[in-house]
Point group: C2
Chain length 456, copies 2
């Protein structure tokens, strides 16, 4: 098909939307390492996991074999309200960069949660409802995941209890108010509502909280209440499974126009967006059917893939969660408070960690001022104000497009634009006012946390 | 075509997008009254207007004859970045209301300005660029229009100077920051930069400003600078012309599925959204080809159509602008500061005023707590957090759907969902906290302003 025929935005028809999620693990020779019981260091059984997670989600978490898992009709109906998301040809960015590269981005921000998180939130809420539960608990940092989950719970009329990192609760009242609009209850973490919260408050009076600590509280709140389970917005296998809808739509849209990407770029915090975006492409790569460069982009201030170690670690600060084998900086690692660009989690999805360790993908880290520079350029030419997280991928897409300009190569670049930055304007303001710095942890900093990794 | 075939979202293909705007005035028997020179009370000539507005926009402002005006390719290219906007079938809202009515909404919020305002901003920036101007000036209240214009100016590399109502400047720093991201300069109004600003500051020390005052400043800044013109986001004929893209897309999407609406509902502040949404439908009605109920919804706290008078009035507080014949509450009217729901302009587009006066459309006013109640219900079932302005239309769409439930009629309702409420969470917070009241001006209040109308 000729170049000029490709529209600015490729939308799939409703009937072209995926009917099954793709489970990348089925095509992995080296499966991701199992979650371990933090007490016995033995693999968590389905029974153990189902105290924390919904039953059907436990099955999905443990399923390394089935390549496709049907998306229930109720979830597909919800997807139809905000999906398919557009695959956008970045004509204006290409023109601005004067590059021969062809740039596409899959834009997941056109829903009220403002990001891709809703794709898994609705799935997890559905299975909780199906199991007859009263509600779910979770944690949220910046608030994207909490917003997504509150929307999903509102749709299925489930109770939704969100532990929000205290500093975000106080600094991001608008996110909190969106969650309230959807009927969620939002508690600043660490709180006095849980044992782990009280303990952290006693040991660190005046703490503004962390994601790892909020996870501990949300898990405790779930396991100590009748009819509640815990849900998580990233890292887990089940979340990457649900997020495969991003990659499946992307691939279907590209296939429709006969486009084969050379590289696929995504930002990586816990890995949910990247894992979902690359899933079907990585599948082809693992099966030897096609080759792609796959690039994970992380912040230089929280560099789990590029400077972490591949080891078993706790998922949370309170160490109440199972252990996961992953690229990690240590579960106590918290990036500098000057880091405004999201992607603050200390570890990385086990699936992506294994794929990275096996050499199937690359990782690069970028400094936050460079990220905001890319974000602002992108906003001006493409008209979308990107989330700081998403802008990590923009940065590297621009860098790769500029390499094409030097070499004259007409490479096709696809990147994930995970969300919008409407609730991140404090960070943009810092950038405009020249108050943003580029903190990078030293080797000595990292060694401190690494020394505390559990010995397994 | 059978009911079940209608998707949740109807997207036009790129090639189905409108190539010309529709100029409703061509089909009006009673043309809208001309703008008058505030000194001579004679109709403004093209020459007079072109001191304030771009030349081609002046032609559009005065053109009562040409039914279609081609959309330049450069503007159509920009439209392709965020248009076509989806026409959404509100299946979930219908289910929640348990109504036999079929509800559709045209959603204009999927762009970074968060509203339909971008449709005219890009057109006005284009003509300014084409004329070789350096930049444009404007005013903004809540910030939607200023954001849209800053995006448009950034795209065409024009200087953009925004006078932002002081109270919004201080209370909405995020909107200001988005405008800065797009390179606009934003000045709180009343400022000390203009003669009218200095005068208002001297007469009303400590004033937090008003839209009418910011308009006066923006106009003065444009006419006193070399290479600048003033642009306005609503009320004017040219703006309604550009916004006809909303209605044209809506009609094309409905026609594609053989759907004929019974009623079309839009919120009305200055009239830009409503005028655009209804344009092709009203055209059919004026030509006697079809009949539709067309309903303008305004806030009970600023009821220009339902309680104003049809008379010549100033468009701005400083009385530097031309006079327009419109339904107006008087140019000094400012709704209660407790009014959080937008749509605060004292007057109404001359086109819509004439159509209303001729009986071609209805108007209703709604209280703001009822508006937020509708907004929250809509957010929960349809997943989109609506702007307070847009929620006026939601309120009446729900009311009409509930009437259908009583009568059993399967009416087809189309309403305009003009934008998202991400920057309106202070208002939502007020609503959640029970701090919102339903101010309605008394007849005595209105009489005071009415007495000050110019005698023409």
């Amino acid at each position: 098909m000729s170049e000029t025929k490709i529209p600015y935005k490729i939308y799939l028809e409703e009937q072209e939307m995926p009917k099954a999620w793709y489970n990348l693990r089925a095509d992995m020779k080296n499966k991701p390492a199992p979650l371990l019981n933090p007490g016995t260091h033995q693999p968590m059984t389905a029974q153990e996991l189902s105290g924390v997670f919904c039953e059907e989600l436990v099955q999905q978490e443990l399923d390394n074999d089935n390549a496709f898992i049907e998306i229930p009709a109720e979830i597909r109906d919800f997807y139809k309200m905000y999906r398919p998301s557009p695959l956008v040809r970045a004509y204006c960015l290409e023109k601005k960069l004067d590059t021969p590269a062809k740039i596409y981005y899959k834009f997941e921000g056109n829903n009220t949660s403002g990001s891709h998180k809703l794709n898994s939130a609705i799935a997890q809420a559905y299975y909780a409802k199906k199991q007859g539960l009263k509600g779910v608990t979770t944690e949220t940092g910046a608030g994207q995941w909490g917003t997504a989950l509150s929307m999903a719970c509102s749709y299925f009329e489930l109770d939704c209890k969100v532990f929000m990192v205290k500093v975000s609760y106080e600094q991001k009242p608008f996110r909190r108010e969106v969650m309230r609009t959807y009927g969620a209850s939002v508690t600043p973490s660490p709180s006095m509502e849980t044992e782990v919260g009280r303990k952290i408050n006693a040991e660190h009076p005046g703490t503004t909280g962390s994601l790892g600590c909020a996870i501990s509280e949300a898990v405790e709140a779930a396991v100590t209440r009748e009819g509640y389970r815990y849900v998580l917005g990233s890292v887990l296998n089940q979340v990457l499974l649900h997020q495969s809808v991003i990659g499946l739509e992307t691939k279907a849209a590209l296939d429709k126009y006969g486009i084969k990407p050379d590289m696929i770029i995504g930002c990586a915090g816990g890995g949910s967006n990247l894992g979902g975006l690359i899933a079907p492409f990585m599948g082809e790569k693992l099966r030897g059917e096609a080759d792609y460069r796959i690039i994970a982009v992380e912040p230089a201030s929280c560099p789990s893939l590029t400077r972490g170690v591949y080891a078993y670690d706790f998922c949370d600060t309170g160490m109440v969660c199972p252990l996961a084998k992953m690229y990690t900086l240590g579960c106590d690692f918290i990036p500098s408070p000057n880091h405004a660009g999201g992607l603050r989690y200390h570890g990385m999805s086990s699936i992506l960690s294994q794929l990275y360790d096996d050499g199937f993908m690359e990782a690069v880290s970028v400094k936050q001022t460079e990220v905001f520079e890319a974000a602002e350029m992108f906003a001006r030419v493409e008209g979308i104000l990107p989330a700081p997280e998403s802008s990590h991928a923009i940065r590297v897409a621009i860098d790769e497009a500029m390499k094409c300009k030097e070499t004259g190569e007409e490479k096709t670049i696809v990147f994930g634009l995970t969300g919008t930055g409407y609730f991140d304007l404090v960070a943009y303001e810092k950038y405009h006012n020249g108050q943003m710095d580029d903190y990078i942890p030293t080797d000595e900093d990292l060694a401190v946390y690494r020394a505390k990794l559990p010995k397994i």
